[in-house]
């Protein structure tokens, strides 16, 4: 077959390229541009270029810094600690469980995962509210009740995110654990290694790549959680559960400051990429 000019050979890619530019790169570039302007949704006749003003404003804004702090707490609690460890524990335990137990646990966990975010939010709102299920259980156990969404809002929404997102980690780790050759585990057992030693010296190093991937996906997903928190607390009381996505929404759509909101979105992207860099380094280290 005769080989054509490189430009001609690239031509079949052109439609995809044009569509990508039109519908993906275009809006993204436009968003980046908006972040450097004082564009408002309403209340202004003309917008103008303001350079880094939005970013400077964010770094001086106590509400923004509060949102960054809460986002980090929420991400570390629910993604790194909660979803990740619980997912690994479930995956490990389910390998030893009987089939009915495995089916039941898997079913429950995955149901939580496939529920739409808003539905899950309402379920957990009903669970945590003052007249909710959790307090009913506490009453039954004669333990003191409290309004969880009011006293510990970040903990409540973090728990909700763990409840909802653990299934994903469980699936990732189940697959990873299946990949560990049985001979290695058996050999270690013969050599007298206990459960903890096997976990620490064999299992964890061997699934290291899965841990990295899972942490990255969990983190990126958790950083952008909006619906769950919106339904449960609206970021309140006050701003005590207002993570970056909620702060962004308030600035852009409630206060109509689209430019400022978009700048905050870019900063959120930055936080996400910082996490990603850390995980990618973790991934690169060979066992």
């Amino acid at each position: 077959m005769r080989r054509g000019h490189p430009a001609v050979r690239a031509l079949p890619l052109a439609p995809a390229l044009v569509l990508l530019l039109l519908f993906l790169a275009g809006p993204i570039a436009y968003c980046v541009w908006i972040a450097f302007t004082d564009l408002q949704l309403t209340g202004q006749a003309h917008s103008s270029f303001t350079g880094l003003a939005n970013f400077r404003r964010a770094l001086r804004d106590d509400a923004f810094l509060n949102a960054v702090r809460l986002t980090l707490v929420f991400t570390v609690l629910s993604a790194l600690v909660g979803q990740n460890t619980l997912g690994l524990a479930l995956a490990a335990l389910m390998r030893r469980a009987s089939k009915p137990v495995r089916t039941l646990t898997g079913g429950v966990v995955i149901t939580a995962w496939v529920l739409p975010e808003v539905v899950a939010g309402f379920l957990l709102y009903a669970f945590f509210r003052r007249e909710g299920t959790l307090n009913a259980v506490l009453d039954w156990l004669h333990l003191p009740r409290q309004n969880w969404l009011f006293t510990l809002p970040v903990l409540a929404v973090s728990f909700a995110n763990v409840w909802r997102g653990t299934a994903f980690s469980m699936l990732v780790y189940s697959a990873a654990l299946d990949e560990i050759p049985a001979e290695i585990t058996e050999a270690a057992e013969v050599d007298g290694a206990g459960g903890w030693r096997r976990l620490w010296h064999i299992t964890l190093p061997m699934i290291r790549r899965s841990i990295g991937t899972n942490l990255m996906l969990n983190t990126l997903q958790t950083l952008s959680v909006f619906g769950l928190i919106w339904v449960m607390t609206r970021g309140g009381p006050g701003s005590r559960s207002q993570t970056l996505p909620l702060f962004m929404y308030e600035q852009a759509f409630q206060n109509s400051m689209i430019g400022y909101g978009t700048a905050v979105a870019l900063l959120l992207l930055l936080v996400g990429s910082l996490f990603s860099v850390v995980y990618l380094r973790l991934l690169r280290t060979e066992v």
Binding site: L11, L22, T42, G43, R129, F150, G238
Partner: protein, 457 residues
């Protein structure tokens, strides 16, 4: 050999796709000069068709009276905040701008400043019915340039709802009309003492309740502090926002008293984003609340077919006007909002759109709409019409408040100022901030969000 599309075919495909994409964006509706597009807020509750039914009736009448003309509806089904966002995006471009839109007075000034709307003065001058509209309602849709940009289709007012059974148990009079703020607080204290288990007084507070906190509670207090001649929130003469006022601290102190003395609901309930549903749907019907500072639209919740039918509410609940601080003239205070019909700046058929407004706002159609929507009349001829005043209990009372009502200074910075009010309220509600601290926090925030356009009073 795998079958591959040839280069020519791909190029053709690309052209076709792009052409399709571009025409999809650019075609508009292909409407002619004989069709108008009307956008309005459709209820998110599928069982509520009040507005759809009413508008469709007016459409039939309009098309009968204007042969050859057509009305096409573009309803937006969304909660308030999302409706504004969606509408503002549509108004930005001539391709998407409808010919007539339903605008909340809360944001109309903001949209006027953006240049989204068209002044209607030329049309209004030739419309005899405009004389029937009351002055404050006309002012709600007036821009800072003095021109009018919308025709109000009713309003709402606010007052005190009280439970006669709770009042009887507490030994309070069945025909109650407090004269001062202290009268309201002392009635609440009596209920707290005599009827345990009942929430004495509800006033919405904090960020979770949003604009409800600002308008229904805070401004109902704030606008009752002076003599009613000057706006305590915004200085019209200088076009600046008022900070550092005694009145602001007094209003905050009222909220603080309610929650510190536990005359209101439990703080964690009050700061629950869904609390307003609890008040109208559970607390009031079950007799769990003594006094509620709330709006004229509450009976909509209790109509047959709604979630909480309560046909005999008017026998169990009494109504009283919110008094001014010390009972000074005019003695009563109310806040009003409401919606207007406005013509976008980028509308294709503005003349025909205004003709539709005239049909919407004939006396008969206006009355039909107020009654269907539990709205409060802003037309003097309808307000005086017994067919309207007797259509529903409470309607006459709330219409009477229109004489003492105030509209918010809904200028572009208002939503941000409103958030600052809610934050100050929340601080004193939880007890995290003193009144002085919360007020100075408000002053600083307002100075920041308005770019320093503040005046100290």
């Amino acid at each position: 050999m795998p079958v591959r599309p040839t280069a020519a075919l791909s190029a053709l495909l690309a052209t076709a796709l792009c052409a399709a994409a571009l025409t999809a964006c650019g075609s508009g509706s292909g409407r002619g000069p004989d069709t108008i597009k009307v956008s309005y807020k459709q209820s998110t509750d599928n069982s509520v068709k009040v507005m759809d039914t009413y508008l469709d009736g007016v459409r039939k009448q309009f098309e009968r009276e204007h042969p050859g003309k057509k009305v096409e509806f573009v309803p937006i089904k969304a909660p308030d905040a999302e409706y504004y966002t969606k509408l503002q995006q549509m108004l930005r471009s001539p391709r998407t701008a409808p010919d007539l839109v339903y605008e909340d007075t809360f944001l109309i000034n903001s949209d006027i400043t953006s240049g989204y709307l068209r002044p209607l003065d030329a049309y209004l001058a030739k419309w005899p019915d405009w004389k029937q509209f009351i002055g404050t309602a006309k002012a709600a849709a007036r821009g800072r340039d003095g021109r009018t940009y919308g025709v109000p289709d009713g309003t709402d007012t606010r007052g005190l709802w009280f439970d006669r059974r709770v009042f009887a148990k507490a030994g309070l009079p069945p025909h109650w009309q407090p004269k001062t703020w202290d009268d309201v607080l002392s009635a609440a204290r009596t209920i707290k003492r005599e009827v345990p288990g009942v929430v004495p007084l509800n006033v919405y507070t904090g960020k979770p309740a949003g604009e409800r906190s600002t308008m229904q509670t805070f401004e109902m207090l704030l606008y009752g502090t002076g003599d009613g001649s000057a706006d305590p929130l915004y200085d019209d003469r200088t076009g600046k926002w008022v900070v550092g006022s005694r009145a602001f601290k007094d209003a905050l102190a009222f909220v603080e008293t309610v929650y510190r003395e536990k005359l209101g609901p439990d703080v964690s309930d009050a700061l629950d984003p869904n609390f307003s549903t609890t008040v109208a749907g559970e607390l009031l019907p079950r007799g769990g609340l003594g006094i509620a500072l709330d709006g004229s639209w509450l009976p909509l919740t209790w109509q047959p077919g709604s979630g909480h039918p309560w046909p005999d509410w008017s026998r169990r609940l009494g109504l009283a006007a919110m008094p001014t601080r010390h009972g000074q003239a005019p003695g009563k205070v109310s806040m009003s909002g409401g919606w207007t019909w406005a013509v976008p700046a980028k509308a294709a058929n503005p003349d025909l759109a205004f003709s539709f407004v005239r049909t919407l706002q004939t006396k008969d159609n206006a009355r039909k709409w107020y009654i269907a929507n539990a709205g409060i009349a802003v037309r003097e001829d309808v307000a005086a019409d017994p067919a309207y005043t007797t259509a529903q209990p409470g309607l006459a009372f709330f219409t009477g408040l229109v004489a003492h009502t105030h509209y918010r200074p809904a200028y572009p910075a208002y939503p941000k100022v409103s958030t600052a009010v809610q934050e100050a309220m929340e601080g004193v509600t939880t007890g995290d901030l003193s009144v002085a601290k919360a007020a100075s926090g408000y002053d600083a925030t307002v100075e920041d969000v308005t770019g320093g356009r503040v005046v100290r009073r």
